[in-house]
Symmetry: C2
Subunit: 327 residues, 2 copies
């Protein structure tokens, strides 16, 4: 059994707990929290809840520690720190800062002799893997990533900060005609506006001015100004009833050519349609935890990403079973 620890019990931590239950070669040993452990109720009866400060005492009782904090402030500090004690997996998703994060985590894990998998999830994660694989197969080509339909937490938060807004939910939606143009192999140049729409569901405070809120949304720089944005005002009950899920997904498409003169075209498409963004991310993370455990058992160390993991290490099946049943 691979003994799993979870640091941080929000949506992602809960998702990891559920994913561990689906994998018979794993067991949840403990959840670590910065809150009062007595106030944190988890689902797994056999697992402990402990304060994050107690984690070092679990060094010999946990095979892989899964870090479920946020990329803005938690993981840049936590992943290097915990990689000094544990094999770890995180879902660091600030794409521009991955090289810097990698360097810091690698230094810590090289020194401790542990394996640290960073940026596990679907983007970064499975989408990255598909961009990489498709590019290696079709070097003369071009890839496109579309996100959605799905809830963007960052954009929902940006709307909630506007005076007069009580609550909000924002969906990112890929534009069908752009998807079709890409699939056709015409290698279109697409602007931000041509690739995605933004659809906003907003609950107003009593007495707020709807048209001022709408203007504030659609003109907001970085978040909405470069997109075709639609704002729907709804009641708090409607928001709760119709928009409480956290769906997401998207498409990675590469088109490219082969042949002596590039005469044949090919389209490789990978897509996800997810009812729960955090639970799917957690499922990828848990498969990466298995790989981290196996790489560590082999004597590997340092920081790894999905690009470095032999795919078979993610699966509970043996090499012989994989070849017989899935190859």
């Amino acid at each position: 059994m691979i003994r799993i620890g979870i640091l941080g019990y929000g949506n992602l931590g809960k998702g990891v707990e559920c994913a561990v239950k689906q994998n018979p070669d794993m067991e949840l040993a403990a959840v670590f929290t910065r809150r009062d452990p007595a106030a944190v109720k988890i689902l797994t009866q056999s697992a402990c809840v402990a304060h994050a400060d107690e984690a070092p005492a679990w060094k010999e009782k946990i095979d892989v520690m899964i870090l479920c904090g946020g990329s803005a402030t938690d993981l840049p500090a936590q992943t290097p720190a915990f990689a000094q004690l544990f094999n770890v997996v995180d879902s660091f998703d600030t794409h521009a800062k991955i090289p810097e994060h990698f360097a810091k985590v690698d230094a810590a894990a090289q020194e401790s002799g542990k394996v640290a998998v960073i940026s596990a999830g679907w983007d970064p994660g499975m989408f990255s893997l598909n961009r990489m694989l498709s590019g290696a197969i079709l070097p003369e080509g071009r890839d496109y990533t579309f996100w959605g339909k799905g809830v963007s937490q960052g954009h929902s938060d940006a709307i909630r900060r506007i005076p007069g807004v009580k609550d909000a939910r924002q969906y990112t939606i890929p534009v069908d005609s752009a998807l079709e143009a890409v699939r056709s192999g015409s290698n279109p140049e697409l602007t931000t506006r041509q690739k995605h729409l933004r659809d906003c569901y907003v609950v107003l405070e009593d007495g707020a001015d709807a048209s001022r809120v709408e203007q504030a949304i659609v003109t907001m720089p970085n978040y909405f100004a470069d997109y075709d944005t639609t704002v729907h005002f709804i009641s708090e009950e409607e928001l709760k009833r119709d928009h409480s899920g956290i769906p997401h997904g998207g498409f990675v498409i590469r088109t490219g050519c082969t042949g002596w003169e590039g005469e044949n075209k090919h389209v490789i498409e990978y897509s996800l349609k997810l009812d729960s963004n955090p639970e799917f991310t957690s499922s990828v993370i848990v498969a990466c935890a298995r790989a981290a455990f196996r790489m560590a058992q082999e004597g590997q160390k340092g920081c790894k990403t999905v690009f470095d993991i032999p795919p078979a290490y993610l699966s509970a099946m043996s090499g012989e079973e994989l070849r017989r049943l899935l190859l």
Copy 2:
């Protein structure tokens, strides 16, 4: 530069030659043939053509030998034999015999200290990898593979063997309603007939009886009897004009659930739409040749499949570039 050899110069061998040209870190050293080398004209001016029997003399001049023979009789003998001398890649695609082929190739490559990648291509190959990855991420789920629209060489040949048939081309076509049922997450049980259609374009010999030929096709056991099959009689010119390509493709779809009670559904879909089946297969093989070279340089040996290759080894980019640009 990675020095590539090609054994066998049919559609696949030509595709490998074209793919090597697209990869700036590789060069084609020589093509080996069982025909008279003087009669084989290749496209790469800088490369040699030699008889297959001369291959052992190239042991120090070739980094990876790509075996482009057929799975029925060529590869079962060639891959173990050449793995005694070279790092090799093949596209062995008789799914049921992969374990046996793996064992023989592994024994040879373990002894010689070479790396042998078998079953590279798209199915087996990229489709296998996607079945494996999706299953590792969503252990509670089910996967479905659909092929087409594409030309099946085996089924086309079966039609050509019917008396009265001059030439023929058979397309395998996935049934749209079955694809939709799978994507819905309803986990349908699908019969052979419900998953794929077979569409046949047939040129008759002068004086042949069309209705007898049609009956012989649609009732042919194993090949057509279990499918809804449509037969179109066309002229030789039409066959040449409209059906000379070798397109193929297909879909690997896994649906699964997450959550404490499996309450959230997810769909992972990978699809290919290929103008040229052999050229796309060749492009995967060439990426695997890069990986074989790198694994051999690291001191690895033995038989490998796509399940064993760290994805980054397939790409010409460095780990640092991959993390910065694609993660």
